[in-house]
Amino acid sequence: MLAFVVRRILQSILVMLAVALIAFTLFRFVGDPVNQMVGADTPQAEVEKMREVLGLNDSTLVQFARFIWNALHFDFGISYQFRQSVTALLAERAPATLELALAAAAFALVVGVLMGVYCALRKDGFLAKLFQAVSLVGVSLPTFLIGILLIYLFSVALNWLPSNGRGQVVKVGDWWTTGFLTVSGWKALILPAITLGLFQMTLIMRLVRSEMLEVLRTDYIKFARARGLTTRAIHFGHALKNTLIPVITITGLQLGSIIAFAIITETVFNWPGMGLLFLKAVQNVDIPIMAAYLMLIGFLFVMINLIVDLLYAFVDPRLRAAMQG
């Protein structure tokens, strides 16, 4: 058991190293950061000096070693654009992205499960067909177009919801800002959360529907029916409960990709989160931010995967036996 855990953690560390290597080497090629930082009339000698100061003239290996060493100390350097510590910048932006991702995941989970259950129970009902049709259209349109259409409809035409930003945010503790405590914060959250969560919502809806249909067919449910339980008890007490475990697990696993896909949503809604910071960093060839962002996303994925694997190892008797054997 311990050996398994240790091996799994070691593997995760290796994965992180690989992510770091990819993040670092690839971004080393994206472009020359020095050109971003100087005006057109900066003398060549000064440009050379800048390269020297930034360590861009060292060998790639030396630069990578320096990168890893600093990353271990949460030091990703200074953003070329903002002249601020990248760690501080990311920490400043993280609440916005995390709150958006959380809202999107909650929206996807709640609406997705409700619609999925409904579609499974009323398999041939009109509303079920409509839900499925809507969900299909939802996954058939690019996110950015959906976002723009929502802005056009709800902000410009109807003037109900704000078109960009986080609204009024409140400081909680030393480094967290939240939009959950103000009305404008909630209003600002609605459109981006729907845009971001729509894709996951349709996936969850379809998953719940097919899982429910499968479970409803099993002997287990047939027995429950034979025992004379009410339909409601069967549907929600037995069938849904069995469906929910994998659904919640998957939502957890998907949280990482929601955060990554927030890049597009944040761009459209000008949401001041990490994704927007990253995209701007790509456009301005701000290597420290790009590297740190990739490391962060990598870390999130690896951690989520690790936790899920370990949890299942503890929970699943078959796996536990296999590991001991």
Binding site: A18, V30, L136, S210, T249, F301
Partner: protein, 335 residues
């Protein structure tokens, strides 16, 4: 499945985008047969004929593919040839609207391109990029999945860890990376020619994991079955066993992934165009047309975004419907 193990969970992740890993073992008898053969005599064909929606989707998809292939014959102009585009004809509304021009049935874009022709050519590019992208992904994924599942051990661990790393980077990040590397390597190259290559590579490299995981799972099941053991005893070389015996029995579910991923790939291409690393506006795909058009959404030139958007939505919808139906048809539990 009250206590799914990690494998099943990963299978479920796959199921999210359509494929069901659990379906693999139920596929056909363990005798290698061609896919078409199996499809014909299974009740898949019957179910296809029974599903009107699937038939409509297939018809739409075939029509669109047809339009894309014969675009040069069907189009009224070549939207990729700057000599045929006249700026003076720019931003004309569709022929039926006031101010429309009968030469341009669906209107023109901001450069004077005929929207109808541009959509046909764009469709062509979107299908080529999406199609080749998912094929590349399938090729990489199936190969790695087969090897990982069959060989096992360290090779398996290595491939699956690479898959983990890869999953860390969504398609958009990968495309940004590949685009950047490409720019650095080919500094003075022709962007129009390289853009398509870059996109295909990005999609190929970001979508392969699903195939690998699905194939690996089913391969691990198949390799312990009698027919594989027998083939091994006879002394057939490993590559032959993998390709001729295991592959045909595990490849079924990938068809579903392939179909669903085609829709995702086309959307990814459009998004990358929006973020500025897609196809250039001189050689517009559907995605590029949409991202050009969205700039004119507020100004009232709705046709520049509406028609390509509609085409894209219908195309992806048709593909998704086909994928949906295929998944249900291949999943015996739902029958």
């Amino acid at each position: 499945m009250s206590h799914p193990n990690p494998e099943e969970i990963k299978g479920l992740t796959t199921a999210l985008t359509g494929a069901s890993a659990g379906a693999a073992p139920h596929l056909g008898p363990p005798r290698p047969r061609s896919l078409i053969e199996r499809m014909k005599d299974s009740d898949i064909w019957l179910s296809f004929k029974a599903s009107k929606l699937a038939m409509v989707a297939a018809l739409v998809f075939v029509l669109m593919t047809f339009g894309a292939i014969f675009a040069p014959l069907l189009a009224t102009m070549n939207p990729f040839d700057p000599a045929q585009i006249f700026l003076a004809d720019s931003s004309l509304p569709p022929a039926w609207a006031t101010g429309g021009d009968p030469r341009f049935f669906l209107g023109t874009d901001d450069q004077g391109r005929d929207m109808y022709s541009a959509i046909l050519y764009g469709l062509r590019i979107s299908l080529i990029v999406g199609g080749l992208g998912v094929l590349l992904a399938a090729l990489i994924g199936i190969t790695l999945g087969l090897v990982a599942g069959y060989v096992g051990g360290r090779v398996d661990a290595l491939i699956m860890r690479i898959a983990d790393v890869q999953l860390t980077f969504p398609a958009i990040l990968i495309a940004l990376l590949i685009d950047g590397v490409f720019r650095a390597l080919v500094k003075t190259g022709n962007k129009e020619e390289s853009a398509m290559f870059v996109l295909i590579l990005s999609i190929g490299l970001s979508f392969w994991v699903q195939y690998a995981r699905t194939i690996r799972g089913s391969t691990m099941v198949e390799k312990n079955k009698d027919y594989v053991q027998a083939a091994r005893l006879v002394g057939l070389p490993v590559p032959i066993i993998m390709l001729r015996h295991v592959l045909p029995n595990v490849i079924g579910p990938t068809l579903v992934i392939l179909t669903i991923n085609l829709g995702l790939a086309i959307i990814t291409e459009a998004t990358l165009s929006f973020l500025g690393v897609g196809l250039p506006p001189t050689q517009p795909s559907l995605g590029t047309l949409i991202s050009i058009g969205q700039r004119y959404l507020f100004s009232g030139d709705w046709w520049i975004v509406a028609f390509p958007g509609l085409t894209l939505a219908i195309l992806v919808l048709a593909v998704n419907l086909l994928g949906d139906w295929l998944r249900d048809a291949l999943n015996p539990k739902l029958r």
